[in-house]
């Protein structure tokens, strides 16, 4: 990347993320085949990350691939990132969703963050939330920052939680 001669060789960042998505889709597609599960794989690039979703053909059919607390989704995302890394040699920050689980969870967390923000503004005291995983904490931190307040993560996984701080 330092000399102009190498530029034509380096793939564009978007191309690289699309390739990540393709590798992930192959890995997941074959898993669905083996497990005899019906689902389509959608690939996108969002916020400088590959975004891959397993879309259920029948509503609720793939619920167990998310898990009741998203734990299966996190595990599947971890393995999919490793599968991408094995092929590309680069760490992947790919985001996986199954049957809209993350999208629905994000909406719940935005509501949760908004009520915490309101409580902090009203009381002037910090408010601690229940433990959340890394993805969930990021949703809350982003929401708090957008509201012009700040937040911290405290505690040790899997009990790590967000504290919303007064301005």
């Amino acid at each position: 990347m330092t000399s102009s001669e190498t530029q034509p060789v380096a793939p564009s960042p978007t191309k690289r993320l699309e390739d990540e998505g393709e590798i992930a889709a192959d890995y997941l597609e074959e898993l669905l085949d083996i497990a005899d599960l019906d689902g389509d794989i959608e690939i996108d690039v969002e916020n400088d990350r590959a975004a891959v979703e397993i879309v259920a053909e029948a509503p609720g059919a793939l619920k167990h691939l998310a898990g009741s607390h998203g734990e299966v989704l996190e595990a599947l995302q971890e393995l999919t990132r490793l599968a991408v890394q094995t092929r590309t040699g680069e760490r992947s920050r790919l985001m996986l969703d199954v049957a809209g689980y993350r999208a629905a969870r994000r909406a719940e967390l935005v509501t949760l963050a908004e009520s915490a923000i309101a409580a902090v503004r009203e009381s002037g005291q910090e408010v601690a939330l229940d433990p959340l995983n890394a993805f969930e904490r990021k949703v809350v931190h982003d929401q708090v920052a957008a509201a012009g307040l700040s937040s911290d993560s405290r505690g040790v996984e899997p009990e790590r939680y967000v504290v919303v701080l007064p301005a």
Binding site: Y27, E30, L31, I34, A35, D36, H64, L65, G67, E71, V72, E74, A75, L76, E78, L79, L82, A83, T86
Partner: protein, 79 residues
């Protein structure tokens, strides 16, 4: 199906996919799936603090539904 699914999940994350073997054994506590990989890939399959092995167990457990299933990554050098 579970052994095939596990074999696929592991083959995708190692440098030596052709050396991946998954054996299924019925035990009193449900099926036991034993994973064997190339010694160079052992660390990759176990992961930092056992993280990857745990992810494999979580996904296989979800695919198994209600039936109990265990996943064991066998260290070939030691057994």
């Amino acid at each position: 199906m579970l052994a095939d699914a596990l074999e696929h999940l592991v083959r995708g994350i190692v440098d030596n996919p052709d050396d991946v073997r998954v054996a299924s054994r019925a035990t009193r506590r449900g099926d036991l799936l034993e994973v064997r990989v190339h010694p160079d890939d052992l660390g990759r399959v176990i992961g930092r603090g056992g993280r990857t092995a745990r992810a494999l167990r979580t996904v296989v457990g979800a695919l198994a539904g209600d039936e109990p299933v265990r996943v064991d990554v066998v260290d070939v050098d030691r057994r």
